[in-house]
Amino acid sequence: MTEQEVIELIDSSLAEEFELEREAMTPEANIYEDLGLDSLDTVDMVIVLEGAFKFKIREEEAVRGIRTLGDIHRFVLSKMEQQS
């Protein structure tokens, strides 16, 4: 997958799960303040990403530091790079 394809899969998966407007999904968007997610949503976000990319991230410390959509993009891209 290209970097753009990874980002598109992240955004489309999250948009579907959390019924987000794609226009609001900028890399700078804070997932809590701007996209309206909460602690229950972050549990589901991990499951959605694990399902989309077939990796395990639930126990990863870096997940807890995610604040923006851009953080998710970078985290997933880094994870994909480690796996390749």
Partner: protein, 411 residues
């Protein structure tokens, strides 16, 4: 019991015959049937009954995602019915979180559909890694009550009764008692259920589900009728806003009717089969609670689901108390058996009869079973004065329940 008077100021309905109180009452007056063959039941091995009374055109998306994510269909129905009841009552938004408003809404089970979905995935590899955060909130026994309280910001007492077919009758009765005792000013009360093949199978394995009318759905069920062959299962929600009379009058709310009597008892003769004496005892206790005699009752809304034994037992209990002096009908011929919602939906219809001074007949009652005779069956709608109504619900597990309402104008 006569402590604080308790009145009905709001009614919400999601039913097989329409998704609000007014439509339900209109469709019942017309004699409509909410029953159809459900194609998905054909695929269930061993299931003989293919009829169901499902709700239509419910738009769950109108509920904000953060509330909806913890709801299965039954909680969606309960939420929408609750919102309707509050709107009809013109209940002040600022009082939702006052602690003076409670919720008493029950269901037969937590969501079976959600449970099925979880286990289908779980059995692939016995992994819990795909389990989402909302699962438990749909499975828990108090899913409807908790979801209604959470989504509407209601901070008073929350109680989730579960008594199968008597659930919402009990919920309304216990809410009436809590308000009468001054523990809450108002309570949203009732029940909800969502149809799943397991619901139909529960009755089918006991030979208590209708199987002979799969190709002519509107002919079933036939409460008290000689040709009846069992229950048609349904779904929906009925929710009442009960309120102390003082509270309702203080804020100038329109009062639809008054709750004046309630009884619920346990029939220990069998967990599945009804006992005439136990039914009779429950009705007599409700009459005593209301300080009324059988002669004071103008109409009886029967539980009668269209089963062989249940209808005979209820008819015999009614005959013992009322002989043939009081009109009786069951609305299961129109609505099927909406399970935990049935008590509230049918009581909503009873309020409609009270307001219209018009009684709705038992649909599909053509030839009265000899063993159900001796009571005054309504085979045609009738216009007549009616001010006091007795309503029964009898549930598997030996739970009996009777509630009595009357017109507020009588006081």
């Amino acid at each position: 019991m006569s402590l604080t008077s308790v009145v009905i100021t709001g009614i919400g309905v999601i039913s097989p015959l329409g998704n609000n109180y007014e439509t339900l009452v209109e469709q019942l007056f017309r004699g409509s049937s909410g029953i159809a063959e459900l194609p998905s039941l054909r695929a269930v091995g061993g299931l003989r009954s293919r009829l169901a009374a499902t709700v239509k055109d419910v738009d769950a998306k109108q509920i904000p995602r953060k509330h909806r994510r913890s709801m299965s269909d039954m909680s969606v129905y309960a939420y929408l019915a609750s919102l309707q009841a509050l709107t009809m009552a013109d209940f002040p938004q600022e009082q939702l979180g006052s602690g003076e408003l409670g919720v008493t809404i029950g269901s037969t089970l937590g969501s079976t559909a959600t449970s099925e979905g979880f286990f289908q995935d779980y059995f692939k590899d016995y992994s819990l890694e795909r389990m989402k955060s909302g699962l438990f909130f749909q499975l828990m026994g108090h899913s409807c009550a908790a979801n209604v309280a959470q989504s509407l910001g209601i901070t008073g007492r929350v109680m989730a009764l579960s008594a199968a077919c008597a659930t919402s009758c009990q919920a309304i009765g216990y809410a009436y008692e809590q308000i009468a005792f001054g523990k809450q000013q108002a309570i949203l009360c009732g029940g909800a259920d969502e149809l799943h093949p397991l619901t139909v199978a529960t009755f089918d394995v006991l030979h208590a589900a209708s199987t002979a009318w799969n190709d002519s759905p509107d002919q079933a069920p036939g409460p008290f009728d000689q040709r009846r062959d069992g229950v048609v299962c349904g779904e929906g929600s009925g929710v009442f806003l009960l309120e102390s009379r003082d509270s309702a009058q203080r804020r100038g709310a329109a009062i639809l009717a008054e709750v004046v009597g309630f009884a619920t008892t346990s029939d220990t003769s069998s967990i599945a089969n009804p006992d005439v004496g136990a039914m009779e005892r429950c009705m007599r206790l409700a009459l005593a609670d209301a300080d009324l005699t059988p002669a004071d009752i103008d109409y009886i809304n029967a539980h009668a689901t269209g089963t062989g034994q249940g209808d005979i037992a209820e008819a015999e209990a009614l005959r013992t108390i009322f002989s043939d002096t009081v009109p009786v009908s069951s609305l299961k011929g129109h609505l099927g058996h909406t399970m935990a919602a049935s008590g509230a939906i049918e009581l909503a219809a009873s309020v409609g009869m009270l307001k219209q001074q018009r009684l709705f007949a038992t649909r599909n009652l053509v030839q009265i079973d000899e063993r159900c005779r001796g009571i005054q069956h309504l085979q045609h709608n009738e216009e007549r004065p009616v001010s006091t109504i007795l309503k029964n619900n009898f549930a598997m597990g030996g739970i009996n329940c009777t509630i009595i309402i009357r017109s507020h104008a009588r006081d």
